[in-house]
Amino acid sequence: MSAALLTIEDVAVELPTPRGNLRAVDHVDLSLEAGRTLGIVGESGCGKTMLSRAVLQLLPKKARLTGRVMFDGQDLVRLDAERLRRLRGRDLAVVFQDPMTSLNPVLTIGTQLMETIQEHLELDVSAARKRSIELLAAVGIPAPEQRLAQYPHQCSGGMRQRIAIAIALSCEPKLLIADEPTTALDVTIQAQILDLLAREQRRRHMAMIIITHDLGVVAGRADEVAVMYAGRVVERAPTQALFKRMHMPYTEALLAAIPKLDAAPHTPLPAISGRPPDPTRPLKGCSFAPRCRYAASRCHEAKPDLKSAERPDHLYACFHPIQMAEGIGA
């Protein structure tokens, strides 16, 4: 096992709001090795995007971040602005959720690609241009040379997300964070974009974090999955182990909420009832307990720790785990 490229150690993010402090990320530990993929899954508001912003150091100004984010031997939290700037875009890249808003509407695609390349790599204009054309071709954009002079509004949503990916890949990053990269796209485009990301990841041997609310997105693509709920990681396991046997009731509910193609017409979706707890009023017990059908009195009294039982790499935070092998349980 090689040393981890990224280690998130005890990271917590608090946002001051008029109703009190909002704990968006609640002491999360995660790690990722070079070339591997981590999927972070959870419903909206669970803190997954805030966690990614914490890694990128792009939190809102008022947010308070504690803990360490070790990337390639440096703590990003304590890195000075100039060194952080040199790292971003070169070793650490990101693709945002909505390609309609993440590209600048008044700058050409060529400018937005080439400025990144020229900022970090010692290339002159013609070399940067050549590299931009290669990148656009690599992400499957037809007639890349003509695209350089165009503006984002002249491209479709899927096209724009491909361009955003080309920008992210432009300096051969060691880590790519894809924050819901397909949520804003048509269903038919989603698989194409995910396949593109997977292909480029293999080719460039970069690590990747895919953030999504859809367990189906990470199923065949992530090496490891972390399920987040109310700012905490509540279950974490190698992808296959997780899908074979999930222990956290929330994970099960999340999977059940995906529409099935073979379901009979008019079958109601087993949605998760209720809403996530108010993040400004943390619960004493397990955050999922009010919505959990297995919850017992203990679940409302104390917070379960994230721990492993059957196999050391499968962690879960639950007093009443489901699908346990005989004889093991809490």
Binding site: L58, R90, A93, N104, H153
Partner: protein, 316 residues
């Protein structure tokens, strides 16, 4: 793009027509008989009636409008009955002064307003932002005649740095010309920059919240590039509008400022025409100024298209 220009040009026609009608009505509906004004109190009724016939004043209003419009379209805006100068001559003589004053004022206004707005937006809510937003409010509430007098007192009377009043053409003595223009232009600019600053500041603050600014940061671009390239351009649409409208407002401002600083511009011409009831000059100058305003706004529309490709391509 050509399509866009043609559409805008066509849209200007009804506006210009309405402008001409309003200008004509304002001058015609003013109380008092033009013939009587020209001939003076001592004129006999017969003389007045004869002059009215000569000038077509006995014709119905719509007929007078159409015949005036016909002359205007041929480039004949009339002739002052006092000086004998044609409107075009009088305006051509004075327009360089007013244009120089307005351009210098707008330039100084932008020179102060834009950097202050960017600096405020970059650290919104900070000490600099609060001080400048406060000063902008104070400047907005100061009338320009007061500012003019304060500037004259400080720079001309106390410090003797600049002349208080006067004018020489730029072609004769460029440096002296600029010195005469500093105080009047500054007077107007001090009223201009708060508006420029407030509009650009709030647009910049909104733009800085955009996803594409977060991405620009994530790309590791330099802070200056993010502010000036990624944020300034998409934030400047309202600024361009305001600048266009300002130029119209500046035309009004020049009335006072040209009078205080004794600059022989359009403003002074207009004020003089009002005092002497020189309706032909008044009517002609107002029409030309209004047309100038319409043309400035046409240029503003063109600038939108330069700034925002989505307008250029007809998406917005």
């Amino acid at each position: 793009m050509l399509n866009f220009v043609v559409r805008r040009l066509l849209a200007m026609l009804p506006v210009l027509l309405a402008v001409s009608l309003l200008t004509f009505l304002i001058a015609s509906l003013l109380p008092g008989d033009l013939a009587l004004v020209i001939l003076g109190d001592q004129a006999t009724p017969e003389n007045v009636a004869a002059l009215r016939r000569d000038m077509g004043l006995d014709q119905p209003l719509w007929w007078r409008y159409l015949s005036w419009l016909g002359h205007v379209l041929q480039g004949d805006l009339g002739r002052s009955f006092r000086t004998g100068q044609t409107v075009l001559q009088a305006v051509a003589e004075r327009i360089p002064v007013s244009l120089q004053l307005m351009l210098m004022a707008e330039f100084i206004g932008l020179l102060i307003g834009v950097p202050v707005a960017i600096a405020c937006a970059a650290r919104a809510g900070g000490a600099f932002d609060r001080v400048m937003t406060g000063s902008a409010f104070a400047m907005l509430s100061m009338p320009s005649f007061l500012v003019a007098i304060l500037l004259i007192y400080l720079f001309a009377v106390e410090l003797h740095w600049l002349p208080a009043t006067g004018y020489v053409p730029f072609t004769e003595a460029p440096l002296a010309n600029l010195r005469f223009f500093v105080l009047p232009a500054l007077t107007l600019a001090l009223a201009e920059w708060p508006g420029i600053m407030r509009v650009l500041r709030s647009d910049m603050i909104a733009t800085l919240q955009e996803d594409y600014i977060a991405l620009a940061k994530a790309k590791g671009l330099k802070p200056a590039r993010i502010l000036f390239v990624h944020a300034l351009k998409p934030s400047s649409l309202t600024l361009v509008t305001v600048t266009g409208i300002n130029i119209g407002r500046l035309l009004g401002g020049t009335l006072i400022v040209e009078s205080i600083f004794a600059l022989p511009g359009i403003g002074r011409l207009l004020v003089g025409a009002i005092y002497t009831r020189d309706l032909v000059i008044l009517q002609g100058v107002v029409l030309l100024v209004a047309c100038g305003f319409v043309i400035v706004n046409f240029i503003v529309d063109m600038l939108y298209a330069v700034l925002d490709p989505r307008i250029r391509h007809g998406h917005a």
